[in-house]
Symmetry: C2
Subunit: 339 residues, 2 copies
């Protein structure tokens, strides 16, 4: 049996490219598991933009850095196929950060990135898609971090993306007046407003985001769910209402660049408007995941929440799928199965 | 009777100068008060750094802009000498934003900046100094915004200043391990550590703040009470612990410059470290002021909290006092009485 592995061949310069990755199979030898460890078969991977940051050199803002020649790591769904851990018998499954390999050993007692159990009856695609980390990010970012009140104006950037389109819908369900920002008139009209139900959508490619926000939000933006950062963060910050909350989820505008996405240009705006900016990760809310999933399922059953997945098959297609995320050529949460 | 007034003659270019102000008395005519209005005699003014921002042209981050030829406005203590407002009879007193004039009319029913009543038995100096807006800013910024837990590491910038030295002491009382950042070895040693009780102090004029923070806070900074912004905010942000809270009080590094103080250079640090940055103003906590003052008084009575005031006498000295704040040549909360 071969264990296929995708290694980091070179650090991307600006745009990530398939050539930055190298497929290198190794013979799979039955590992001798230490107490607490499990051997998993990775079943599917989620192509998440944040992974792009992990490919850079370590810096003061990096928490995960993948070394040259090391296996790529990313969110995935794994099934336990060998176990020295009572909590995780053979056949049990989880989602969490796992290497881009067919097989991997996890020390689940000492794992730094928390894993989330996949309950019986939930497929791996469901666990990475409609009930996966992107949907949970939208859910926790709104319900735990930004906490919009009914009637408040909520702006979501990258509103056509996997996290963003869930955030738009959850914000609507919570009673917000929701404005999505996305790239392209078609995405804005057909997806963000028509399907996700945003009250308005701004096409950042053809519209002046700052001017449109001022027009659409004369009383100011109460909540901003930010996936993008940079100039869009600046435009929203300058249009906040008093006591605005900014849930800082990602800064995708900077991921494929050689400069980071900075905070607001003038922090006195944060003082005088009493703005709360808060970064967050789903990992802090693992204990609440079963409840969150039940809520998401209920909303789906009632037709209030829709989720699109873009599932591709074949371990060998992982790098090109990640590149597609940055081209915007995926249509929904991009999941690659290993088979 | 003359009503002396300090008007804005010219907008400061970088450093504020006494020449930017013009003393222009006018004859005082008994005003006809509208319902809700009061005529006050201003008794004392607080020279607060934030006032410097109000002298600039309006921009997206300004909430108050003083027009050329208009009276300067700033925090002060006023006594009602004529009243058409039942809540504020003649003889009642308050602190709040009031013009740099001997006399002024306030529409207290429609005031946009909240005022705080001065209770009987409290002098105007006490109401602007030990129980004034600076002390309350430190108190609310810690207890309501940053909320340090016992044992956490708290960093305070401008720690020798009026707000900062109160913040250092309150953070100690709340059980924090406190590091102050101030300008000058003498201020650091004699005031921030010896009197205010900080566990350590960093002299930003002679030390590398980033390196010293890394050394003093190997487990990271849990709470940052920021009065300064700019490079000091950046140095602290890069040394935060997970789940750090930054109470954004002021950005004095930029007040006397022609560029604003920006937020963190890389917002992914805010995401991955789950940092909460929150701007605040005392005005949001007016209802809690009596309780806060009782707490501050109790700490003072028990010898846990010290406050220095630098009181100067004479309305005509107001501009030079404000300039002194930016020279750092005051020794404590700088208050100018009108007599």
């Amino acid at each position: 049996v071969k264990n296929r592995r995708w290694l980091l061949r070179s650090r991307p310069v600006r745009n990530v490219a398939a050539g930055d990755f190298e497929l290198q199979p190794e013979p799979l030898q039955a590992p001798s598991l230490q107490p607490g460890q499990v051997l998993v078969r990775n079943r599917a991977f989620l192509c998440a933009p944040t992974l792009r940051n992990w490919l850079n050199e370590a810096g003061p803002s990096s928490r995960v850095t993948i070394g040259l020649g090391e296996s790529i790591r990313g969110p995935g769904a794994a099934e336990v196929v060998g176990s020295a851990n009572e909590q995780w018998p053979v056949g049990s499954r989880f989602t969490g950060v796992t290497p881009w390999q067919d097989y991997a050993v996890h020390s689940l007692d000492a794992v730094t990135t928390p894993v989330i159990r996949i309950p019986d009856g939930m497929t791996e695609i469901e666990a990475l898609g409609p009930f996966g980390v992107n949907a949970l990010t939208a859910y926790f970012g709104l319900t735990q971090v930004a906490q919009p009140r009914p009637g408040e104006t909520v702006v979501v950037s990258a509103a056509a993306g996997s996290v963003g389109s869930c955030a738009v819908q959850v914000a609507k369900i919570l009673g917000g007046r929701v404005i999505g920002i996305a790239g392209g008139r078609d995405k804005c009209d057909r997806w963000v407003t028509e399907v996700c139900g945003a009250d308005a959508a701004i096409d950042y490619k053809t519209e002046d985001v700052r001017a449109r926000l001022a027009q659409l939000c004369p009383a100011g933006v109460d909540v901003f769910f930010d996936n993008v950062g940079g100039e869009i963060l600046q435009a929203v910050t300058d249009n906040t209402a008093i006591h605005a909350r900014i849930a800082v989820c990602g800064q995708i505008s900077a991921y494929d660049s050689d400069a980071p996405a900075p905070g607001p240009r003038d922090m006195m705006r944060v003082v005088y408007w009493r703005i709360r900016m808060q970064g967050f990760l789903v990992g802090d809310y693992v204990a609440d995941v079963p409840r969150a999933r039940a809520q998401l399922r209920d909303w789906m059953d009632r037709g209030l929440l829709r989720h699109r997945t873009d599932v591709r098959h074949g371990f060998e297609r992982l790098p090109e799928a990640l590149v597609d995320i940055f081209r915007g050529s995926n249509t929904g949460t991009l999941i690659v199965t290993t088979d």
